[in-house]
Symmetry: C2
Subunit: 413 residues, 2 copies
């Protein structure tokens, strides 16, 4: 039985050195994509010495209250000064406008009064003040966004400032999804006796998209060798194949055998994780590159945990972000601990902070691995280490993996 760390090491070895393929997309479609290369600024920001306030630019900061200056020019944002200023000359300048050469400060309008020709200073500025120097924020050539960074709204603004109208981003990995089992019916069917709707494909497709990949839903393969092998062949046309169900050791768990018959090499067949011990990982070398194949268990909780803990890191690696375990935060756990065992346990929790700034992970309702709704009720997974003694008291700390960012941001629970 592989630990989580051993499973990730197997994926790293199977993938080898990842050559990330890229494409150029319009800025308006770049949100959530991952940058393929460093983005450098093409010019100084700001590109000129500019006014940080609406006011009068002066050539001296040694001013007494009551001093007067001749208004020689006016510079709006988008304009250029008509020339330098010196001595008792002043320039009316707007926020964001270039200040004339020779200007050493800008006195805000509120500190002055003027008749259009002459301005009188009422309050004295400190020096240098309300002028932003050229290149103060970023110098030409500086890296403003690094390769492997996800494109956030603020990053879109940085790309726009750098003149990158069509950034190079990593191609989304294409993930084929196959639900297996003769008991499965499509979502729009009413299940007959003994049958259940295929919910795993929908969850997995959402997890793929959330992780930056494209989901290709290949539907249901029944417990029939020919049908299953045909679905596997179709799935292997994609970068990653994720199946659910059929990987236990039951009489009709045909998935491992069919995968091996299609040339997929088994890397391991169980991992020491609960929910979802049976998890088949394999890889196949094809002319198009390495295909990773994940045979997730059939129960919804095992699917969700296996995808978040193992498939998401693999997809991140394919996106050029490096292969790393999921990020964890440290939180105080509130809820039942269950029985410690030889397997690492993952349980849904709801995150919040208390008034002392402590991150608190409250157990979400959990009715066991077969419950399709248990994991929808949490915004993170708490990690109970394998074979660890039960913590006690108020200060029971656990690692948590945030998984539902929308909840964390919107606080909908």
């Amino acid at each position: 039985m592989h630990t989580v760390e051993e499973a990730l090491a197997q994926i790293a070895e199977a993938l080898g050195a990842v050559r990330v393929r890229g494409e150029s997309v319009p800025l308006a479609e770049a949100l959530g994509r991952v940058l393929l290369a460093d983005v450098r600024m093409d010019h100084d920001v700001p590109p000129f010495r500019r006014a940080a306030m609406d006011g009068f630019a002066l050539a001296t900061a040694e001013v007494e209250p009551g001093a007067t200056f001749r208004i020689e020019q006016a510079v709006m944002a988008g304009e250029v000064p008509s020339g330098p200023i010196a001595g008792d000359a002043a320039a009316r300048v707007m926020t964001g406008a270039p200040v004339p050469d020779g200007a050493v400060c800008v006195v805000p309008f509120e500190w002055t009064h003027d008749d259009g020709q002459t301005v009188t200073i009422d309050r004295v500025p400190r020096r240098p003040v309300h002028i932003v120097e050229r290149g103060d924020h970023v110098a030409a050539g500086d890296v403003v966004l690094a390769a492997g960074a996800p494109v956030t709204p603020a990053a879109l603004g940085a790309l726009a400032s750098a003149g990158v109208a069509a950034p190079e981003v990593a191609l989304r990995p294409r993930v084929a999804i196959v639900g297996t089992g003769s008991e499965l019916v499509p979502v729009d069917h009413t299940p007959g006796p003994g049958a259940i709707r295929n919910s795993n494909n929908a969850t997995i497709a959402g997890q793929c998209r959330r992780a930056g990949a494209d989901a290709v839903d290949l539907g249901i393969a029944p417990d029939d060798e020919d049908a299953l092998r045909a679905a596997i062949r179709a799935g292997l046309e994609h970068d990653v194949l994720v199946l659910s169900g059929g990987v236990s050791r039951g009489d009709l768990d045909l998935v491992p055998g069919c995968l091996e018959a299609e040339g997929v090499r088994c890397l391991f067949h169980r991992w020491s994780v609960q929910p979802g011990g049976p998890l088949w990982l394999g890889a196949k070398q094809t002319p198009g590159g390495v295909r990773l194949v994940f045979g997730l268990p059939g129960n919804p909780a095992g699917v969700f945990v296996g995808f978040e803990v193992l498939v998401v890191p693999a997809l991140r690696a394919l996106l050029g972000m490096g292969l790393a375990p999921r990020r964890t935060l440290r939180a105080r756990y509130q809820g039942p601990w269950g029985k410690p065992g030889p397997r690492r346990r993952f349980r849904p929790v709801i995150l919040a902070t208390d008034d002392r700034g402590m991150l608190v992970a409250r157990a979400a309702p959990w009715r066991g691995s077969g419950d399709p709704f248990g994991l929808a009720g949490g915004d993170a997974l708490a990690v109970f280490p394998e074979s660890a003694p039960l913590p006690s008291g108020d200060h029971a700390l656990v690692d948590v993996i945030p998984v539902h960012e929308a909840d964390l941001l919107w606080g909908t629970r």
Copy 2:
């Protein structure tokens, strides 16, 4: 000058009772959308008493080690039992398969040995064991997802289980975006003297999409009354209009006047927030409903903060999630405090937890309101209350608003 709370109250009053319009979308396109109505389960889950393990179903749990049973039938997942069991009859059952009537426990294969006709029990089960009762997870008619909930990957699975192949979700609000100022040039232009690229439209478009709205980029309006009014008229065809720039009291700050000339009623013109004091909020009644108009400041930091703190709650209200301030977490702040003032200050921070489970907000580099990159470096905004004394020591607590969920989840910093 309005506080954040007064500004939100103005939006609530201008919007009145929001009637959310909905549409039906295929499950594969529902990720990130907001549910219009409660989703109820159409059947018991599980829909039948089912086996939770591969093993032998028995009609008694009073078993001694060495007891033998006749193997009368086998039930695979997706099949139905051929009849009830009683006495010394056993049924071979697979995980997920219905157990025959009369079954009270399932003894896992590992605890038995058999010759195909007779099974011998090696270890004795506790009772009742490895059978999930009908309706144990959810009963028919129970609400499994509530109106106003965002659709997460786990929610997709719940929708699929409930047979909802085309959920009703709130229409995305359509947000028109206009950057104002003659100094602005499009992203793919090289700025000449005094000019800068329009980065705000790209950031705002990303913020819209992240908040569940559609962004309609109407480009740049120069400091010209006719051009600006034409852009405003085009913008008022959408649910929300967001402008940036031109709302200070400078000579060319034409936005407020042009908005009022187009019939938009001013609700307020400044709020007590830093960065971005000038912020014009207005509303116009149209046959299509109330149009909200946000005149954000021109500097990138003021745009970002104004959008996250004020526009996002408005968009959430239009999505049927209710009008509420942004969710905050409580964190220990590490960084400079700056000078307390009469305005509420927002600063970019990077979130992590320490080994005691404390949420720590570390100041991200910040070069002032005009820096287009300062806010891209944080994953949350720290909130410094107006006019509060500076905290001191190790336990300085602040509220933080998480804003870049990708960073929080992926830990890319």
